[in-house]
Symmetry: C2
Subunit: 208 residues, 2 copies
């Protein structure tokens, strides 16, 4: 009995994974609304029967896809945080951490942006997005605070606000990069500039 259950579950999980892989690519290519369930299934080598055997609706598939990708991203981010010990230039190191933590591939940018739009219209899809943003924000804030402490500098701007700004900048650059790939080059200098301003208060202005 247990063996049977085990085998069943494994089979289902494998096909779900393949369906999610197919969904990622299909949604990136055609967009979520424009892609049909059949498009996803045929790309994964299935027919629609397989889909309706594991999902109830296309929205549910989207949510499952987003959840899986988010879990992967958070795992990578967490792993990047652990190794943050002594670095030569803490600011530069923190920037590089951020940049390598963010996912930059076109496929994910397309799908994640579309999910943000989707969430703006469907409140039940928004809770996933909010949860992820909160997690990412907490991690980024921790990274910034740790880096500042290691460098022995005081931040002019609260780390939380800085984290939000960095995330927003990254989203904007990703969106821009979709059409003009060279735009990707502005992210690193922009982050450096931002952090320099955050750790080094301008001498002539108000010394808050």
């Amino acid at each position: 009995m247990y063996r049977i259950q085990c085998r069943i579950v494994r089979r289902r999980e494998v096909t779900v994974e393949r369906l999610l892989d197919a969904a990622l690519e299909t949604f990136a290519e055609q967009g979520f609304a424009a892609a049909s369930v059949e498009d996803v299934c045929s790309r994964g080598g299935f027919t629609r029967g397989a889909f309706y055997s594991s999902f109830r609706t296309k929205d549910e598939l989207f949510a499952a896809l987003f959840t899986r990708e988010l879990a992967r991203e958070m795992a990578r981010v967490e792993e990047l945080l652990t190794g943050l010990a002594e670095e030569a230039d803490p600011v530069t190191a923190a920037v590089d951490r951020c940049l390598s933590a963010f996912r930059t591939d076109r496929t994910w940018t397309l799908v994640a942006t579309e999910y943000a739009l989707h969430a703006a219209r469907h409140p039940d899809a928004a809770v996933l997005l909010e949860r992820h943003r909160a997690e990412l924000h907490a991690q980024l804030t921790g990274l910034i605070e740790r880096a500042a402490a290691d460098a022995g500098v005081r931040l002019v701007v609260p780390a939380g606000r800085l984290a939000r700004t960095i995330a927003a900048l990254h989203d904007g650059v990703s969106l821009l990069t979709l059409s003009s790939p060279c735009a990707h080059d502005i992210e690193r200098p922009a982050l450096l500039l931002l952090l320099q301003a955050a750790v080094a208060p301008p001498p002539s202005e108000s010394e808050n």
Copy 2:
């Protein structure tokens, strides 16, 4: 004959305007792909006959909508640039100029972001987006250079790159604001921080 032509054109233009208004709201509510031609028409008080009398396809409608809105935006931006004379604090003034030039309403954010995604998949739709970005970039660069000249400061970062960064930041903040409206508050301080860093080179670092 000429009178007839004139009357015809005016009539058509009015219904096209109403269709574009309806399309803006419908696309914002449901998304471009999810919205049907009939949805747009019924919101504008028409049937599909009116639509197919002026447009060939939904993509064409989208392009027309984007073109119209872009023209309006550029007109506003250009108007904002003209009045840039003496200001007390040039940096703050420039930031306020930028912020008031950008369109922040949720409707437009939804539609513009969706157009960016649309453009990433349809090259012929991308040319419109690229043209607009180039125009906006030129205006922003001009604004920055003028403000820097008026303030008598030298920029550490090329104005063009700064303009691109500002635009990206704005896009990211807008996207973030869709789900968590309080995120809108980070844009102004972020811009200020960015510009402070750009005009005041950190004293201890390389004095490029």
